[in-house]
């Protein structure tokens, strides 16, 4: 049973604040992903949980024990590093065995444990090699093995896949997910790759400038971002943003595109926003846009805009189309854009409920009144 509770944790180096007061509760068996751009403090947070960095203030609990000032070895954790950090002079066997030796595990028990881990990770034939004789993927496995062999309650993974090539990264990602399901241990996983975050996480914590922007299950973080930063950080290609002006006339809500004032649509939903005539930022995910054609005309709940095709990038499974509305670039995922060519004037449609509105000043999300009522009822 290993929950992790972080209470009012702070880290600063002199006047430089790296982590602002942070509270996180990780459930037993959960895989929490810390994601954010470099310098957001995610690795520092992980180091503090590991005990490698001192806390400035606040508390860290693993299970029922406060570990804030404990030595890393007394926290019942294991960590996998981005560089793997294998001991260069030791063989794979010695690398894996080192932690057990330090904990004075008897030789037979060590051999048994190494055998088990080698079988689990299929590194049996590598045991007598040195790290310099291993490929990147093999080193990654050995680093995992070194963490697994001690059977700790908590695993900390610091960008463990960043040094692998694209194909191997996807493979290892799946393996880590399988391992997590099989072991059922609590894991904290740091990455800057939002796809890794989405695919692996039980919950995602999106961080920026030492603060958590949103902490929720991947689906909610993706569909219901709490602010502009989360909306643009999660998702690839990124969410499209366009400045709009919202006005109410006789109970109807009218949305006008600021860069293209001639394009205006009426919204059936009411915006829970105190003032009329304010500028907002409207966000739409690339996959929520579709091409309007004679065979597939716009429905009544869809807003329609005209745009010009700039570039078409086929990726095989789908085509990525770069459009522009006035001088604002818009990305759009289409199943088949082969009948389009650059320079075409097209109509694109998007369901009204796919709009996400943000305040341009505070960058916070502004919700439809209906959504608010629903969520407060639930």
């Amino acid at each position: 049973m290993a929950t992790i509770n972080i209470k009012a944790l702070k880290k600063s180096y002199g006047s430089l604040v790296v982590l602002k007061e942070m509270d996180i509760d990780v459930n037993d068996g959960e895989l929490l992903v810390l994601v954010g751009p470099s310098g957001c403090g995610k690795s520092t947070l992980l180091s503090m949980i590991a005990g490698l960095d001192k806390t400035t203030s606040g508390h860290i609990f693993i299970g029922d024990n406060e570990v804030t000032r404990k030595h890393p070895r007394d926290r019942d954790i294991a960590m996998v590093f981005q560089s793997y950090a294998l001991y260069p002079t030791m063989t794979v066997r010695q690398n894996i065995s080192f932690g057990l030796e330090m904990r004075k595990v008897a030789k037979e028990a060590r051999e048994q444990a190494i055998g088990d881990v080698a079988e689990l990770l299929q590194i049996g034939e590598l045991l007598d090699r040195k790290p310099s004789q291993l490929s990147g993927g093999q080193r990654q496995r050995v680093a995992m093995g070194r963490a697994l062999v001690r059977r700790p309650e908590v695993f900390l993974l610091d960008e463990p896949l960043s040094n692998l090539d694209a194909k191997l990264r996807v493979e290892m990602r799946t393996e880590i997910k399988k391992l997590h399901a099989r072991l059922g241990k609590t894991m904290i996983y740091v990455t800057h790759d939002q796809i890794e975050a989405m695919t692996l996480a039980s919950r995602i914590a999106v961080m920026r400038d030492g603060e958590i922007q949103q902490l929720d299950v991947p689906r909610v973080v993706y569909d219901d971002p709490s602010n502009l930063f989360v909306a643009q950080f999660i998702g690839s290609p990124s969410m499209n943003f366009i400045p709009v002006r919202i006005e109410r006339h006789d109970g109807a809500t009218q949305m006008t595109l600021v860069p293209a004032p001639e394009q205006s649509v009426s919204l059936s939903a009411k915006l829970d926003y105190p003032q009329d005539g304010r500028d907002l930022i409207c966000g739409v995910r690339p996959e929520d846009l579709r091409l309007v054609s004679d065979g597939y005309p716009a429905a009544h709940n869809e807003a329609v805009f005209s745009a010009v095709v700039d570039v078409i990038e086929p990726t095989g499974a789908e085509d990525l189309v770069a459009l522009s509305i006035a001088d604002v670039g818009i990305n759009c995922k289409m199943r088949d854009a082969s009948n389009l060519s650059p320079g075409d004037n097209i109509q694109i449609a998007v369901s009204e409920e796919k709009f996400r509105f943000f305040d341009p000043g505070s960058e916070m999300r502004i919700r439809f009144r209906e959504n608010l009522i629903e969520s407060s009822a639930a």
Binding site: L52, R73, L86, Y87, F98, G99, K130
Partner: protein, 297 residues
Amino acid sequence: MTIATTEQTLPSSQELGAMFWRFVLYAGLVLLGFFFIVPLAIVLLTSLRGQEEILKNGVLALPSEVSLRAWWVAFNESCVGTDCRGMAPYFWNSVKLVIPATVISTALGAITGYALTKYKFRGSEFFFAATIFGIFLPAQLFLLPTAQLLGLLSATNIWGLVLIHNLYGLAFTTLFFRNFYVQIPDEIISAARIDGAGFFAVFWRIIVPLSPPIIVVTVIWQFTHIWNEFLYGATFTTGTDLPITAALYAVTGPKGGIRDYGVEAAAVVIAALPTLAVYIVAGKYFVRGLTSGSLKG
């Protein structure tokens, strides 16, 4: 085509100029090489000649008859002051001095270098800078305070010198090890700490096995410096405690009196032999250790 071939057979004036400068360069290098090897060659040759022959033919001459007499005399019968037991006791003095001084200062440098890079503490950079400052202080500066210290410890002997060379050498050895350990990724140390290793377990199991290149460099450096050191040896020891460099200054032929050039030359070679041997045996490791960069496993 024809132009190209003539260009190949007849070098242009530019190429001729380059050849000329190359010739000048090599001639200069040969001359310099000769200049540096001549003293050693003369000493070696002189040590192989007899006393009468040297007196008859002068110092700068090839041996007419090669003899190891001077070597034997220098090692066993030459006099330092009134002590006519040869260079041998002083040679062993230096050995007794150089081994503990080298081993201890190297070991201490490894630990301080490790602590200064991998267990940084508030002010560790200042400590490092202060330690390194010791390198730039001239040895004469320490003569008086060191004399008082050794007097206080009643250690005006070989063991006093061991202590002094350890203290003075620590600045160099710390610098060497610190600069080497800076390249070891900190993540390896973090991994070992999470695996349960403490300060000394990390040192012995992770750091020391990575250290042979820099250990070789440090040992060679310390060995040659301590062996060749003269000022402290001459100042802080007396009589039969002199290291070989200090004894060499006062060496004369057997029974004293007349200068025996052959014996003096042989004594010089004997005094220089260990450092020469160390360079010849381990010189390539020295260069390799100094230039070794990557530790990526």
